[in-house]
Amino acid sequence: MELNELSIKLSQYETEGASFESFFINNVGQEVLQVIVDGNDELPIFVTRTDEQILCICYLFTEQEINADKQAELNDTLLRLNVPMPLSAFAKIDDKYAIFGALSTNSTLDQLGHEIVTLSANSIDALEAISDYLSE
């Protein structure tokens, strides 16, 4: 599915009790769709597309925000949480920790909707779970 098609469809779509707002960011030649699930605008989901996959990324916190002496422990914990966490995985992009999911470009609206809703819920849970590692 193309991102502009997804944007239009999401605006009229509701799943698992959640509704979506989305808008386009395209200023460097790479299309990115910013999606907000159920008013959760603190943790927007950024959706982007390559030839093979659709990536849904949610930025959680920067490296500077965590206790430096606890970073290794946090990294270890995140790696362990990767498998039990449904559909999403932890990642790091530059200095930002993120949570993301990847789908085939042939995915349906229902599959994409489910992915995005799950990612949004996971991101809130993840932020709560790691709050002890954040520096004051």
Partner: protein
């Protein structure tokens, strides 16, 4: 070196700064061209395979028909011998020898075809594997590039708008606040619903004259009169 290993080294060395390509665009173009060339070679190989297989079938058929000819002429030769036609039998036998010679030649040709069919099939399998592998590696490079570009786009938006990335702590607090607001709203709605159902019950009870008595104007008047009469 595999692309993943290259990426690993680059990320480890901190080269993975926004905007800095890990594998330069020219290398990607060359890689893409190599994949396209391999695909073209693959479709050529597939075409030759079909041709060779067709020839293999034709040769097998020719050998089969030679076998039939030999069997037929052996019967003829036997018949000629039965009729004491020695000279004719010899002539037929020479014909059989000719067929057998031809069969040997065809057999050799067939063996060549069979060998090249299995060789071509192996080559095609290898080429397909290589193409899939190269595409997977290319996809890794392109995904890295896309994520970098997407990150730049996101950073630009956050830096320019008022939605600059809040700290995780602030976000968490706002999320908790919103969740609490939602819960409070639900509670309030629940309370309101309960009050409404209470009121409905009261109304019914009152209509039936059960529960608290409602003060009526007449009662008040009666009370005042009672005071005056004292």
């Amino acid at each position: 070196m595999s692309i993943l290993k290259k990426l690993f080294t680059a990320v480890k060395g901190g080269v993975n700064e926004v905007g800095e390509g890990i594998v330069d665009a020219n290398a990607i173009r060359i890689f893409e061209q190599e994949i396209r060339d391999a695909q073209a070679a693959l479709s050529d190989a597939k075409r030759s395979l079909t041709e060779v297989m067709a020839k293999e079938i034709q040769t097998t058929r020719a050998i089969k028909s030679l076998d039939e000819d030999i069997a037929k002429h052996e019967t003829y030769a036997a018949q000629a011998l039965d009729k004491d036609e020695e000279a004719l039998a010899l002539e037929i036998a020479e014909k059989i020898a000719h067929f057998e010679q031809e069969k040997t030649e065809q057999q050799q040709v067939l063996n060549t075809f069979t060998t090249s069919v299995s060789k071509l099939k192996e080559q095609i399998k290898q080429a397909e594997k290589t193409i899939v592998e190269n595409q997977r590696q290319l996809s890794m490079v392109k995904t890295t590039e896309s994520v970098q570009k997407a990150t730049m786009a996101v950073n630009d938006t956050m830096a320019s708008g008022d939605s600059s990335m809040a700290s995780a702590k602030q976000s968490l607090e706002r999320i908790k606040q919103r969740q609490m607001d939602k819960q409070d709203q639900l509670d309030a709605a629940q309370q309101l619903a309960e009050e409404n159902s209470d009121k409905a019950l009261h109304d019914k009870m009152r209509a039936a004259g059960i529960g608290e008595e409602v003060t009526k104007g007449a009662d008040v008047l009666a009370r005042i009169r009672a005071k005056q009469n004292k």
